[in-house]
């Protein structure tokens, strides 16, 4: 009896968790493609919305998808590498300014980067004039901007992971004649790979969903990311008409992230309890 009550409760919560997703699926295969004609359960099935999505000149979904994946992959991996190497120094070495550096990072990470968006806008107006390859409407400029925030977000977390790796291991490696770089790449990195994979995945998903800085930064339709482009897709009076296309785009965007999530599910719990936060 008690067990049945548990099942009922969990099923209700599952329904709450799933109904918007079912709605998105239903909207994506709805042949009419409007918000008004979409119900929770599909009233027909067609791939018209997907075809529209890839045939559209106004909304180059394929480009956005590639832009997003490229920016998120590059920024999350480069960012992890930067914060990982900083964490290595903080965890394994003793040097002057270590405590001040750790405290400074703590303070800086409290100030969300997008609070300074006005200044960032002014800086990149200048950069666009001098170096167009890193200016507005370019992936590299946005990646640089995200990397500026990388150290503040993950260094403490990484330092925590590294502190759990026994120091005896690097001492043994040093005795065997390994350099600091060899210890970093050959000893430390392999040991923290599982946790690194989870953090990288969360950083990847967080960057995919980043909206505010990308919306200020990317204005040319061809350079937009999924978040910015899809926001424009159902902006203003197109909200009703383009909803099917939007839902189809949402589903396609979700496939890589949901896949990675289910695949890494086992590690996620331990990664999260150590303090990783999805953006």
């Amino acid at each position: 009896m008690r067990l049945a009550l548990r099942h009922v409760f969990v099923l209700v919560v599952c329904a709450f968790a799933l109904f918007p997703i079912v709605f998105v699926v239903s909207a994506a295969i709805n042949p009419l493609g409007t918000l008004a004609s979409t119900d929770l359960l599909p009233n027909g099935a067609s791939l018209a919305n997907f075809a529209d999505l890839f045939g559209s000149d106004v909304h180059p979904f394929g480009r956005w998808f590639l832009n997003s994946v490229f920016i998120a992959l590059t920024a999350s991996f480069a960012g992890l590498l930067l914060s990982m190497s900083a964490a290595y120094a903080f965890s394994r070495m003793r040097f002057r300014g270590r405590r001040v550096g750790l405290l400074a990072l703590l303070l800086i990470q409290m100030f969300p980067q997008f609070l300074a968006i006005v200044t960032i806008f002014i800086i990149f107006t200048e950069v666009t004039e001098l170096y167009p390859a890193f200016g507005f409407d370019t992936a590299w400029g946005l990646i640089l901007l995200y990397l500026g925030g990388a150290l503040g977000v993950n260094t403490w977390l990484m330092k925590g992971f590294l502190d759990t790796v026994p120091r005896e291991l690097d001492e043994a490696a040093t005795v065997d004649g390994a350099t600091h770089a060899q210890i970093f790449w050959r000893v430390i990195m392999p040991l923290v790979t599982p946790i690194l994979a989870v953090t990288a995945m969360l950083a990847f998903i967080g960057t995919m969903s980043e909206f505010i800085m990308a919306s200020v930064f990317l204005r040319d339709p061809g350079s937009k990311t999924l978040a910015v482009g899809m926001y424009g897709m159902i902006a203003g009076d197109q909200r009703n008409a383009n909803f099917g296309m939007f839902a189809a785009a949402t589903l396609l965007t979700a496939i890589p992230t949901v896949g990675a999530f289910l695949w890494l599910q086992r590690y996620i719990v331990s990664g999260l309890t150590s303090g990783a936060v999805k953006g």
Binding site: H7, S85, A86, M110, L115, A116, T119, I234, V277
Partner: protein, 522 residues
Amino acid sequence: MTSDVPEAAKPRRAPRPRREITTAYVVTRIAVLAVTAAILVYAVPPLVAARAWIALAVLVAVTAAIVCLYLTRRLIPAKYLVPGTVLLIAFQLFPILYTVSTAFTNFGDGHRGDKQSAVTAIETGSVRQAPGSPEYTLTAALRGDELVFLLVDPETRRVQTGSGEGLAPLEGARLGVTGKVLAAPGLTVLTAPQAAARGAEIAALAVPTAGGLIKANGLSRAVEGRAALDYDPACDCVRGDGDTWTADEARGYFLNARGEHLAQGWQVGVGLDNFARVLTNPTISGYFAGVFGWNVVFALASVVTTFGLGMGVALALHHPRMRGTRFYRIALILPYAMPSFAMLLVWRDLFNRDFGLVNQSLGLTVDWMGEPVTARFAVILVNLWLGFPYMFLVTTGALQAIPRELTEAASIDGASPWHAFRRVTLPLLLVALTPLLISSFAFNFNNFNAIQLTSEGGPFPAENPQVGATDLLITYTFRLAFGTGGAQFGFAAAISVFIFAIVALISVVTFRRTRRQEEVYA
């Protein structure tokens, strides 16, 4: 923070013994030099062209320092710290400091540049066609690379060249029927399509004359205009149109006797005015207090509801005879794995008054995002949907770490399940999860997307379109800086500083608490 072992007390490590030069050593050093050379080759020419000497000096100094760092065998910690730190300084630290300094100025629409550019803007903005001045026929031409105007007086058919330096007579030009110049000695006359391609340059060229300026009006007419307003450095004021506006250095405006100001002002320091406005101006401080109060409620409600529901399902599944947990778990974490920006937009449409599924399926006609109470309920519900899988996952992890013997012992001692939960499980869970709950509070305190992508801060009261019922401080700030009501960067920066102070306070409390549980500096 005093828990750190004083570093000075430790014996300094002796420098590493020098090693023989290995292949890896040589290769990395060559790579460092090559990358540096590539960066300099790419980055220097634009700075030279723009005559940005200070930036150039900084670039060269930073690059030189980095090269030295990676060529030497010493300074090992710095080798690992510098790449991230350089980016951190350039794209986070510098913008933050600049933002904080902006909070002490009136930077914003009408106060963008310095005084000189304000004067120029006022003067050129007031140029009108001088009465009785001729309307010239205009032909654009090139003298070498420089764009010049060929101006033909329609009555006398006299030809003059006009450039940035002024007017000069021109002899020997051949005129067409329309009065346009067809050819002129020493000049390349532009054809109509060529001129059209240089439209922006032609519109920007102003030829100074004795009484004003000659500017192009389209591509084939030019008129002489006179600035109605004129800056007089002697009295530091702007005269014209029968009025005088005197510079007010404290406000960054030109003011006339009646206290009215010209639209164009300049950026000045205003001290603590922006901060004082937030706290003392009755209208603004009222709104600020309202937004702040709702912001705290939103963040608290988000944490409490997500933690409550997440823990509820985690406890329900945490039973030895529970079946199908794998399936339930996948279903429950799906909201966390979906792209959040897209799902926020989907929720916005679920609450749509006319076509939204919520109204359709419940048979309601509620304007969810149109009423403060329903809009607030809606955004908290949406945030619950987005956030509870995270809490479910972390509670599941923490529950597995609590030994089952503890609850069994409690039940043997006669505690009801509720009592065992209340007295044993919950306290242990909270010990493990309090840091995460506090960081979740800090995250939701600035949860820009959750508001901007659903309610956009609305609904807005009729009397003030700047502050909506579901606005967080962060969305309010964003509207002040980039919204339709004109940019107020200085004021927005002041509010950013307030947000910073609040979040910093929360974090200090967090770390005081967590430091008792773990050695942060270990």
